[in-house]
């Protein structure tokens, strides 16, 4: 599961993947809404890893 934490790095640091104006969404060019979309996706991925790990031995 920990490999999920690397996904945002790939999605955001490989710039040629999203450096476009089209398709736009609600007036936002692709470059912008794509990066905005990564905010909830990143939270979700971290949450998945959080859920799958064993709890701390002691609080």
């Amino acid at each position: 599961m920990w490999v999920l934490l690397l996904v945002p790095f790939v999605g955001l640091l490989w710039v040629p993947f999203y450096n476009f104006q089209e398709p736009s969404l609600f007036g936002f060019p692709f470059f912008y809404w794509y990066q905005f979309a990564w905010v909830p996706i990143c939270s979700l991925l971290i949450w998945l890893v959080y859920r799958s790990r064993k709890p701390d031995e002691t609080p």
Binding site: L6, G27, F31, Y32, Y50
Partner: protein
């Protein structure tokens, strides 16, 4: 900008400033603990902050007031390139989730207060400890000065001139930080963050509605960049892509090496508090991305500014009634107080633990540590204030840029030890020195630009100097460790 005082905005501003001042002094009694008896109390708020307090505190001191001014100013000036703050503040959280709970556990088990404490405990090296401590203090000072500059921009927008308002604001800040420690910014962060959320959510709904929607905002910005000759635009030029990605990565790795962000980590109640915050803190990133778009809205609103830093205040003055711009300006000014307070506390903790205790008075009591730190926090803030008043603004900007590069060089010493004990202090110290020297020299010789150029096989690669320096740092640390292993084998003193 007009020099006339906007009385309505000023009244709103004074009301909120008075409110947080009262809260700041009251904070010493909040979640009561003996503030003066132990550095854990003054400098870490008693190590008891749960998920929500940590969320407000770290959110309040990582996303600083200066960000609210500077990120839109950069986006206004250079377009898509200025947007690197968004990927930077996203990818930082997987890193925080994976690394910071380990750091917290080490610090909590041994009672460490600073990054340099952790490094000293791991490597038993006074040299490496001092390198980390000094880097932290030096990198923090210009950062505090920037918060003052951010506050100065909004105070000017209300129509107040001269240095007096900012000196007054800072004296108040210094006094309640002195008496309440980390509890003061933690309590004020609630007010600051709620205010900033209101301001930004109103702005990102109302401003585009007045200007014809987001489509119109982006196309106005696009027209303006095209008219300027097309060096900047709504997407990156191919030569900017590596710079964009390396700035985002380098900044993300540096972000939680700063004393103020680490103070938020060390002050949390548990490792799980930090993990939950890695999931919840990205809400602020959404906010930051929306704030960045204010830079484009300025084009749609046909705002003309003398200095790019005036973009945000001007936008609010032009599009909103006085009472709301007063509210927005108070949010930004209070937003400067929280990080400035936490930064001065972080730097004071470093001075107390890793300079005073290590070199001047090793036998210092817990209460003694707290009183040294309180005085050190005053000194740090006075230094930053003098910096803002007596030196040109550009110096603070340049030094802050170098500060980011420097603090990133403490990454190997602090983080690698959490995962492996293979590295040796001598190697890490050499790597730190190599990274700082090469990075500073390269940034300096490029006219203090954060970018370096590498020519390989006829094509030029432009990247963030800090990240280049970090790679050099790690390479030197590896080679240094291997060489020291050959010449002087390890003794059995290395701790398991």
């Amino acid at each position: 900008m007009s020099a006339d005082i906007d009385w309505i905005a000023l009244s709103v501003f004074i009301f909120f400033f008075a409110l947080v001042t009262v809260m700041g002094f009251f904070a010493a009694r909040w979640k009561a603990g003996p503030v003066d008896s132990h550095l854990d109390e003054w400098g870490l708020g008693g190590r008891q902050f749960g998920t929500w307090i940590t969320w407000f505190l770290v959110g309040g001191d990582f996303y600083t007031a200066y960000t609210v001014i500077a990120v839109p100013a950069l986006v206004y000036a250079v377009g898509a390139y200025g947007f690197f703050a968004l990927p930077y503040t996203i990818i930082v959280y997987p890193f925080v989730f994976a690394v910071m709970p380990l750091l917290w556990k080490t610090a909590h088990a041994k009672g460490h207060v600073t990054a340099a404490d952790v490094v000293h405990d791991t490597y038993s090296s006074r040299g490496l400890e001092l390198a980390v401590a000094i880097t932290g203090m030096v990198a923090t000072m210009p950062y505090i000065a920037l918060q003052l500059i951010g506050m100065g921009v909004v105070i000017k927008a209300i129509g107040l001139t001269g240095e007096l308002p900012i000196v007054a604001a800072f004296v108040i800040l210094a006094l309640y930080t002195y008496s309440s420690g980390l509890r003061a910014p933690a309590l004020i962060a609630f007010v600051k963050d709620i205010m900033i959320y209101i301001v930004v959510l109103v702005a990102v709904v109302v401003v585009p509605a007045k200007l014809g929607g987001y489509g119109a905002v982006f196309s106005a910005a696009n027209d303006a960049f095209t008219a300027k000759g097309g060096a900047a635009g709504l997407t990156l030029k191919s030569s900017q892509m590596l710079a964009y990605a390396s700035l985002a990565l380098g900044s993300a790795l540096a972000a939680f090496m700063y004393p103020h962000t680490l103070t938020g980590i060390f002050a949390s109640k548990s490792a799980d508090t930090i993990r939950k915050n890695a999931i919840l803190l990205p809400a602020y990133t959404l906010l930051l991305g929306l704030i960045a778009l204010l830079g484009y809205m300025a084009y749609a609103a046909h705002i003309k500014v003398e200095s790019n830093n005036d973009v945000v205040p001007m936008l609010f003055k032009v599009l909103f009634p006085s009472w709301f711009s007063g509210f927005a300006f108070s949010a930004i000014a209070i937003g400067a107080l929280v990080p400035a307070a936490v930064m001065s506390i972080g730097a004071a903790n470093l001075f107390t633990r890793n300079v005073w205790k290590s070199y001047i008075n090793p036998g210092i009591s817990h209460a003694g540590e707290a009183s040294v730190a309180k005085i050190a926090s005053l000194a740090v803030k006075l230094g930053a204030l003098a910096f803002t008043i007596f030196l040109p603004t550009q110096y603070a900007l340049d030094l802050q840029l170098l500060g980011g590069l420097w603090i990133l060089q403490t990454f190997p010493a602090l983080v690698f030890g959490l995962f492996t004990r293979w590295f040796r202090a001598e190697g890490l110290l050499l790597g730190w020195a190599a990274g700082i020297l090469w990075g500073t020299w390269t940034a300096w010789s490029n006219g203090l630009k954060p970018l370096a150029t590498l020519n390989l096989g006829g094509s030029a690669y432009v990247f963030y100097v800090g990240l280049g320096a970090l790679i050099l740092n790690i390479v030197v640390a590896v080679i240094g460790t291997v060489l020291f292993d050959l010449t002087s084998p390890r003794t059995a003193t290395a701790k398991a």
